[in-house]
Symmetry: C2
Subunit: 341 residues, 2 copies
């Protein structure tokens, strides 16, 4: 059994995955790696399927999967992204999307007030239900009377477990984000599960914000947040917003976990960035920080912490790709991190 399966995917995916594998290699941990480099857009174009049963079996036979990026402009209006990315989340019931957001260097903050810059929070995003249920359809498609319905499905099972995960993750506070004042059925369920979860975890401070207010407060009082727990779609939006406030998605790692089975998928938050793919300029740091989450998940805490410190050091020294103000290529920025280990 391979310790790690790897899906480099599309666009800059293979470039940043190369960096991450170089990092893992540098630690000499002897981790077996199984690379599935045929899973991607070309195969979807050709066969209508990018991730087959055999691929899922290989991924299942590993301890965790590292994914680069999935997506290509010509497949934008197909089910491609759903069929790979969401399929992996669903196949392994990876309900806990863990997205830590930290300002690695003051220089990277887009905020004016120094007192507001120190963002250090975790977005805990429910990853298997809500609007991502895939349930819905189009009545009278393409007619003037077309009606499209997508079901926002939330279950007590799903909501309770993600809230428990959020409380387990919290250092000081859990902030529930929802839209219970307008979206009633799910709102009622989240609110009730929230009250019960808070009773189960009497230690943590709690806070509740409607999603519109949460988006605002991420800008006006980002330093106040610790753990934010939200539905699939709210978590999607808030995690990109939080990443923007900490220097951009070039630095945002992500893990999709099933705490019960122990399986996890690790992917940078950024996409395949087709505009810069193949030019060797993609920022590898998000994928290196993702590798750090993966290493920690596999029990290699020292290596994970060393990676984070090395990335922080490279940023502080200005040894970065152009998106963070430096002049290095993907490989040079990776070497800078490896040298700083």
């Amino acid at each position: 059994m391979a310790a790690i399966s790897v899906i480099p995917g599309d666009g800059i995916g293979p470039e940043v995955v190369e960096s991450a594998l170089g990092l893992v290699d540098a630690f000499g941990l002897g981790l077996d790696v199984d690379v599935l480099d045929h899973v991607g857009a070309d195969r979807y174009r050709r066969e209508g399927v990018a991730l087959g049963e055999a691929d899922l079996a290989r991924v299942a036979a590993s301890g965790a999967v590292l994914l680069g990026a999935i997506g290509r402009p010509d497949l934008e209006h197909t089910g491609y992204v759903r069929d790979v990315l969401l399929e992996l989340r669903y196949a392994f019931d990876l309900y806990a999307n863990y997205r830590p957001v930290r300002l690695w260097h003051d220089r990277l903050s887009p905020l004016r007030d120094p007192a507001r810059r120190a963002l250090d929070c975790v977005i805990v995003r429910e990853n298997t239900e809500g609007l991502y249920s895939g349930i819905g359809g189009n009545l009278r498609a393409s007619s003037d009377h077309e009606v499209a319905v997508d079901a926002d499905v939330n279950t007590r099972h799903g909501v309770s477990r993600i809230l428990d995960f959020a409380f387990a993750t919290a250092r000081r506070e859990v902030c529930l984000v929802d839209k219970a004042n307008a979206v009633r059925a799910g709102g009622r369920l989240w609110q009730e599960c929230w009250r019960r979860a808070a009773e189960r975890h009497p230690g943590a401070a709690t806070r509740h914000l409607y999603v519109d207010a949460a988006a605002m407060k991420l800008v006006t009082e980002p330093e106040r947040f610790d753990v934010i727990v939200a539905s699939n779609s709210h978590g999607d939006i808030l995690s990109d917003l939080a990443a923007a406030l900490a220097g951009g998605i070039g630095l945002a790692p992500s893990a999709s976990l099933n705490p019960e089975s122990g399986f996890g998928m690790f992917e940078p938050v950024h996409g395949s960035a087709p505009d810069i793919a193949g030019r060797g300029v993609a920022n590898p740091f998000a994928c290196l920080l993702t590798a750090a989450l993966l290493l920690r998940h596999l029990g290699h805490d020292t290596e994970a912490a060393a990676t984070e410190a090395a990335v922080a050091g490279s940023i502080a020294a200005g040894r970065t790709t152009p998106d963070l103000g430096g002049t290095l290529s993907t490989r040079e920025a990776t070497r800078a991190v490896l040298a700083a280990l």
Copy 2:
């Protein structure tokens, strides 16, 4: 027939509405005003209904309705907000939520880079469908097997008309925001309506962003946006985020319009702010800017522009309530604007 009906509502609603009515009065336009000050939380508590048929008839008999704020903590988990605010949107089919966001003074921007501060955009939010349909319910409520479903309903009728409104509003570009890569039925409908709307309006530049990327780009490239068109829930989130980037919801006006009937509801984006209600410190500027939208809607363009200039002047002179850095009370800040007219 009254020119304007007014629902002051709860919390700071009556305080900021007083400012707005003072402004309207100062112009001496002889507008009849019908104030429904019994519509609010007390009545909902007492009667279970805050906005009755007779109230709706009075509102319908006016040319437009000005609303202060609706909401009180003790009614947070009831249908109160839906029953007033959303009821008004639905009763008059006010499908076009128009939320202009402008940085009125450089000092108010939370952004570090001066080149990024000049936000001047309009969020055009679909206001009558999507996740706000109110369709849904809870199966096996309060049991371990509870399932909550809320329907995200989008119709070709609803999507086409809001897109047309967005194109009619645009000065240079319309940016569609959706989540078509994950939420398929509605995504497909919006995308198809979008292509057709763009054909109907060949003059405007177009752009498309997924909602997570849009939240990010509002932080990293806010100055690029002109008109953003989005679903009800995405528009809700993005308009608060944009407001935060332009100095906060203390400055954010909003109009909910039915372009065909000509009827409109005008309300500041902020809520009832129970924490500061009754203390005379609420920022009246959002409601004054809302009154400006209302005056423009009634054909009083000169007065609308004068109001906006006077608010901008008061901000520039530091004559504001404490939330914007000043020391004035609600009434003093209002007088400052009236004096600057």
